[in-house]
């Protein structure tokens, strides 16, 4: 299953400590692993772009531009902003669904986003090692083919649960405009009374945006930092799919 481009025919030895070590133990020099398949990469960038558009338009729906003068029929500013927001919302939601579906067909790294291995001991060990690495308590981080455990937790809570929350509340709010009987209202209308009314859902959706903005700040920073300081590539990995390692040490 593991697509290690330099070891096509080697049968892996029985459960070595890490897969990086496994390939090294096979006497091969590990340089790149194909981690992010094309659909995953496509989703990442489409998702990133729609989030950017959604944050900007969403902010201006909550706090509109200064008033325009002249005939109302001469403008459609808020209408356009809302249209762009809804269109980007649809793209994000379809992308999210597609990403879930791909998790069933893609390689094992495509499932990492949705799994939160709460009960796996090695996961928590890796998690705390990463925390120490970020707290400058460890001079050198571990190697990871997929996401590091800290990133995985972060992604799981914000990009899976968080995005799901934004999609649910977003479509619920959208259904207020499409009206009762619309499929949006049938599928998502229950969210509004559940969360305590329309105003409340607006507020929570708005807060969700700030959670995502905070996520973006941390995500972009840590990716660039990891790209420079960690033992594997980051930015190029999500662009061409291949993760490159900087050293051949087993662990």
């Amino acid at each position: 299953m593991t697509d290690t481009s330099l070891s096509p025919g080697t049968a892996p030895p029985a459960a070595p400590p890490t897969e990086v070590a496994r390939v090294i133990a096979g006497g091969k020099k590990l340089t790149t692993v194909y981690v992010y398949e094309a659909p995953v990469r496509l989703w990442h960038w489409v998702n990133a772009l729609s989030i950017l558009v959604l944050c900007v338009t969403g902010y201006f729906i909550g706090s509109p531009f200064p008033t325009l003068s002249g005939e109302a029929s001469a403008h459609y500013l808020m209408g356009t902003i809302r249209f762009v927001h809804f269109a980007a919302g649809y793209i994000l939601a379809v992308g999210f669904l597609g990403r879930i579906i791909w998790a069933f067909f893609g390689n094992k790294y495509s499932r990492e986003l949705f799994t939160f291995p709460f009960w796996r001991k090695s996961f928590w060990k890796g998690f705390f090692t990463e925390v120490q690495w970020y707290a400058f308590l460890k001079p050198r981080p571990l190697k990871f083919v997929g996401h590091n455990p800290l990133a995985q937790v972060f992604l799981f809570f914000v990009m899976v649960l968080g995005l799901a929350f934004m999609i649910l509340t977003g479509f619920a709010l959208y259904s207020e405009g499409t009206g009762l009987g619309s499929w949006q209202a049938k599928l998502f209308g229950w969210v509004i009374p559940l969360l305590g009314g329309s105003m409340q859902v607006h507020t929570l959706h708005h807060l969700g945006m700030w959670v995502i903005i905070v996520f973006i700040i941390i995500h972009v920073y840590s990716v660039i930092r990891e790209d420079i300081m960690s033992r594997q590539s980051m930015v190029s990995a999500i662009t061409n799919g291949h993760r490159t390692f900087r050293d051949d040490d087993p662990d």
């Binding site: 459609y76 305590g196 009314g197 105003m199 700030w210 700040i217």
Partner: protein, 368 residues
Amino acid sequence: MALETFYEVMRRQGITRRSFLKYCSLTAAALGLGPEFAPQIAMAMETKPRTPVLWLHGLECTCCSESFIRSAHPLVKDVVLSMISLDYDDTLMASAGHQAEAILDEVMTKYKGNYILAVEGNPPLNEDGMYCIIGGKPFVDQLKKVAKDAKAIISWGSCASYGCVQAARPNPTRATPVHEVIFDKPIIKVPGCPPIAEVMTGVITYMLTFDQLPALDRQGRPLMFYSQRIHDKCYRRPHFDAGQYVESFDDEGARKGYCLYKVGCKGPTTYNACSTVRWNDGVSFPIQAGHGCIGCSEDGFWDKGSWYARLADLKGSGFGVEANADQVGLIAAGAVGAGVAAHAAISALKRAQHKNTDGAQKTEGGEK
């Protein structure tokens, strides 16, 4: 107390058959029904005995009653006020004291399971309900007693539906909406502070003529009046879409009747019929008068911060801070941004330090 039909009462009051039929088609239109329903309404009114309505008052301000008796549609008003058998309403009825309470018991036994209970206001539950005493007993006891044999319950106004201002934090009397006290009866919520008169009479007329509850939404409100937001049918909506807003109440936009979104209009989050039915015989409604909607028919409107801000302060959302989502978000993003910058600086220093110490033993090949 042999009950006449609606039609008999109307004729007795000097209403012609022609007016009666007109009323039936008007009611059909008001309820959003097709023209084929007018004869059905006429039929029901000619044949059905009137259903007794018992109207209880708990913790409330009587604004619902005030609204109700001002129902502008003359025929609707006549029908509902003089023709429903409003057998008990301690605010409106002539009798008082033991006499009044006796009527309540009489109707309850005589029409067991067949009367409609209309509740205005809500019961306070703290101190065993002692904050609201009716006829020497806590209101909550009266409510439970009368609800037991009722066919259905109408929760008039935001008090009965959601709690309203007497339930505002910290809710010292523990004022509780009807649906959190009575669980075994169908409850129709007609929220608003007060609800629109025509909405109230419309709901009652529907129930009496069709002998069934109107279609309700997920929160138990009649769909025919609460399925759309004020915003969806607001006559200022074109200004919203255009991006033309009142920035402050004395500016040019306010004079020109622009959208009140930026001065906190709750129209986009409020389900009610104000922008279509309007008030006082369709004369006006708050937005038409130049003030934003305060969302009085929405659950919790009394606790969600300023009437004049679109972004609710988070105290009302259970976060306990008097700041809106943008203020909290900006502070969080700023703090995280500063944290990231500091982290980046330390990382750079550490890296430079490592380069110096490791430089000797590390080969260039390891770095790739």
